[in-house]
Subunit: 93 residues, 4 copies
């Protein structure tokens, strides 16, 4: 079985944790907390988001892209182009 | 004058926008919105966080690190090591 | 038609340019060239490598992964897991 | 003592290893080696370049930037802006 399949519940619980991390950044700035601590929090949130993105990408490949490929035709081509474009955007950030 | 100096207000208003983007991800997942749209939202939030990190890093160099360097001694050394370590963490994410 | 399909010739010519950029870094260090110029050269080479990676990933999805998905079974699953793992490695760097 | 100071010899030997990795990519493409293996090689080279960049950035902060900050004035300001811009470019790639 695949190593990446991620359940919706797992995804949502990870997103809640990341939301908390991101929500925690503004108060750190308001309270003039040490910059390096703020940067560490930002790195943690970014890492969390990238990890969620990998899980979602895996799911997308396995379902939407694989279904389109099985049917073939221009939709398959479109889905493949779109998947690569998503990877490109993730790498650019 | 420097190109990067970022005001606390600007930082906080950017953080509020990013919080909104991150808070918007979970409902997209719950409503089974198209994966690629969720990935685009994640890329936008990550980009926003990286941009805030660059602004904060600039501020940190200009104030904490520069002050420590002017005083010299082990604290300057510590602050320089810490700044590089923060860059390393940002690059790893 | 797809936006990403990249020919082997295009790939090889890009790789030659990147090789040249990377080969140019050591002499810059040996001649004590300005650090920021070396860092700019490193950023350019890294950007080139990421761009080649996106082109290769697109090609891989379109051929190896799509073929495996059409055949189905455990090989399709393996190829999908492997593709996501490659994206994860690219994001980590 | 600082954790990052990197000697010129260490830097050059790392660069030689990365040059070898990058030079190895084109023959892999020419011989139609498995895409995932090529992507792994690209990830390794990119990781190596990022690591060299962190070492050089540390050195740059400790010498050029710190010297300019000690002298003060517009040159200090310029060097700080330039250092942040270099971090921004590294993060974009």
């Amino acid at each position: 079985m695949a190593g990446y399949e991620i359940s919706k519940d797992d995804l949502l619980s990870r997103l809640r944790r990341i939301e908390g991390q991101v929500r925690g950044i503004a108060p750190m700035v308001e309270q003039d907390r040490y910059c390096i601590d703020v940067l560490t929090q930002i790195s943690a949130a970014t890492k969390g988001l990238q990890s969620v993105a990998v899980g979602m990408f895996d799911d997308h490949l396995r379902h939407c892209v694989a279904d389109a490929v099985e049917k073939g035709g221009p939709e398959a081509d479109h889905k493949l182009t779109e998947a690569t474009a998503a990877v490109k955007r993730l790498l650019k950030t």
